[in-house]
Amino acid sequence: MPDTPSLRPPLCEAQAESAQNGKAAVEVTELSRSFGSLVAVDRLSLSLPAGQIFGLLGPNGAGKSTTIKMLTTLLPPTSGTAMVAGFDIARRPGRVRRSIGYVPQVISAEGSLSGYENLLVFAKLYGIRRSLRAERIQQVLEFMGLTDVQNVVVQKYSGGMIRRLEIALALVHQPPILFLDEPTVGLDPTARQMVWEHIQQLRNELGTTIFMTTHQMGEADELCDVVAIMHEGRIRAVGTPAELKAGVGDGATLDDVFAFYTADQTDDRGGYKDVVRVRRTASRLG
């Protein structure tokens, strides 16, 4: 995408500032979540500097989505703490919510409204200044390449367009941190490439911190500055893709790294609910 319009000034100085000073955007300490006897996330700790693209990798049922749900205040942790954008997720959830954008794995745009109407509702919900609202909506539409289809009902969008609209929805209040849960699941290669380019552009131009989950190794390799491999609720390895590959052996791919750290993985994780969710998302987007 050679000349995608910029989202930069005059609205995004605060973000750029926060990105430059390299302070942790997400700081997780011993975070756990259990569902009954199942420990979905087990004493997870990690520190994510601002302005990076961070990829959380793992097989189905590894605890990736549970982690994202806790960090986005959707799910209270069983124990442990996390600071997101400098705010405690348990004690200052309102502040955390102000500071983050979230794109769930499943479809989160309202199908029976137009792209513009979707953005309008969220702009109002987030309290975007009335004087800036229309301008801001047009900015994010333009940034995500949706200006021409803004008045079309979302049901008529392609999978790639829906994903881009969802990212636009998450950007409307200019969050310094963006959470993306499996952002390219079910997309064709062209649409996936386009989403990747937007994610990179967000980081490069605005210094947005990106926290994403994926189980596609190619995506992590292409996109992420830092990758953590999660398995059975715990982080097994953290590093740049290059570091992780070097750690496993000469000529190793991220696939090898993944297999290496999740070797005790049998095929019985995740289960019906996960499969249904992923397939449903894929079929809706596809």
């Binding site: 005059p10 609205l11 995004c12 100085e13 605060a14 973000q15 500032e17 926060s18 000073n21 302070k23 955007a25 601002a50 749900k69 986005t72 205040t73 959707l74 799910l75 954008a85 400098g86 705010f87 309102g94 502040r95 919510r97 102000r98 500071s99 983050i100 979230y102 769930p104 794995q105 499943v106 479809i107 989160s108 745009a109 309202e110 029976s112 409204l113 109407e117 509702v121 969220f122 109002k124 919900l125 987030y126 309290g127 975007i128 200044r129 800036l132 801001r136 009902v153 929805l169 209040h173 200019q174 969050p175 310094p176």
Partner: protein
């Protein structure tokens, strides 16, 4: 440093909490009403059942002169009851959209926003109240055509709208609670089937409470639909009077709605777990 002072302040404003709350509530309601604009069939299809009730049931039961209606024709007596019933039937299915939004990620998006949780629920209830108005208007018109002796007093007609809006908001909030607890469409539908018949027949919609056995009267007196119908009857018809008093009707409905809203607000964020 990404401290509170350095948090992005460029695009959004924080107003007085009350303004914030009103704006968030209206944003949620607006989303619901904009959705309705894209679907006109819904309004038409909702009209079928009340027409059948008034034209078939009403006509037949009019010949039975045994129902103690308080001196008014039976068709007049039941018209407000059927209006309330149609509001109830639409409202109790309102919660299914919440399950739909939960299965997609729409609800998650709303919950990740800084909007007040009560505003998220109240916005939905308000939209349900507004949605009920055109439908009620159509039944009002139908009743007029069938010769029901309506009361064309502007204040009374405004009061009719109040009862319709309040009733719709109350039962749609109840439906949101059912959705929060049921979490799947199948269970939601099952619970609804259990609720609808007792709510309707255990009320004064098509016969007065004094026709019921004592135990049923006591149960029906706890049914919010009874107070909605009682209020509607008094303000819709020229000749009818409220059994409980209009003030009491409004109070019962408002307090019940408030309690249900509080409960729904508590349950709402848990629905996604």
């Amino acid at each position: 440093m990404l401290s509170e002072s350095a948090a992005p302040q460029a695009v959004w404003v924080e107003e007085h909490p009350v303004f914030d709350f009103v704006r968030q509530t209206s944003a949620v309601a607006e989303a619901e009403l904009r959705k309705l604009r894209h679907d006109h069939l819904e309004l038409v299809s909702r009209m079928v059942q009340p027409v059948v009730w008034l034209v078939v049931f009403g006509r037949v039961f009019s010949r039975l002169r045994e129902v103690p209606t308080g001196g008014i024709p039976y068709l007049d007596f039941m018209a407000p009851g059927i209006l309330a019933q149609s509001v109830l039937l639409v409202a109790v299915f309102f919660g299914v959209t919440l399950i739909w939004e939960r299965d997609l990620g729409i609800l998650q998006k709303f919950l990740v926003s800084p909007a007040n949780r009560l505003a998220l629920v109240l916005g939905k209830s308000v939209s349900a109240g507004i949605r009920a108005v055109p439908q009620a208007g159509a039944i009002y018109l139908l009743a007029l055509l069938m010769g029901v002796h309506l009361w064309f007093n502007p204040v009374a007609m405004a009061a009719t709208l109040v009862f319709i809006g309040l009733g719709a908001a109350l039962f749609s909030t109840m439906s949101l609670i059912v959705a929060c607890l049921a979490k799947t469409r199948q269970r939601f539908m099952g619970v609804n089937q259990l609720l609808i018949m007792p709510l309707f027949f255990g009320s004064n919609a098509i016969y007065p409470l004094q026709m019921m056995p004592g135990w049923l009267q006591r149960i029906s007196a706890m049914n919010p639909l009874t107070y909605m119908v009682d209020g509607l009857r008094a303000v819709m018809l020229r000749e009818a009077h409220s059994v409980y008093g209009l003030g009491w009707d409004v109070l019962v409905l408002a307090v019940t709605a408030a309690v249900l809203l509080g409960l729904a607000t508590k349950l709402y964020p848990r629905v996604i777990c």
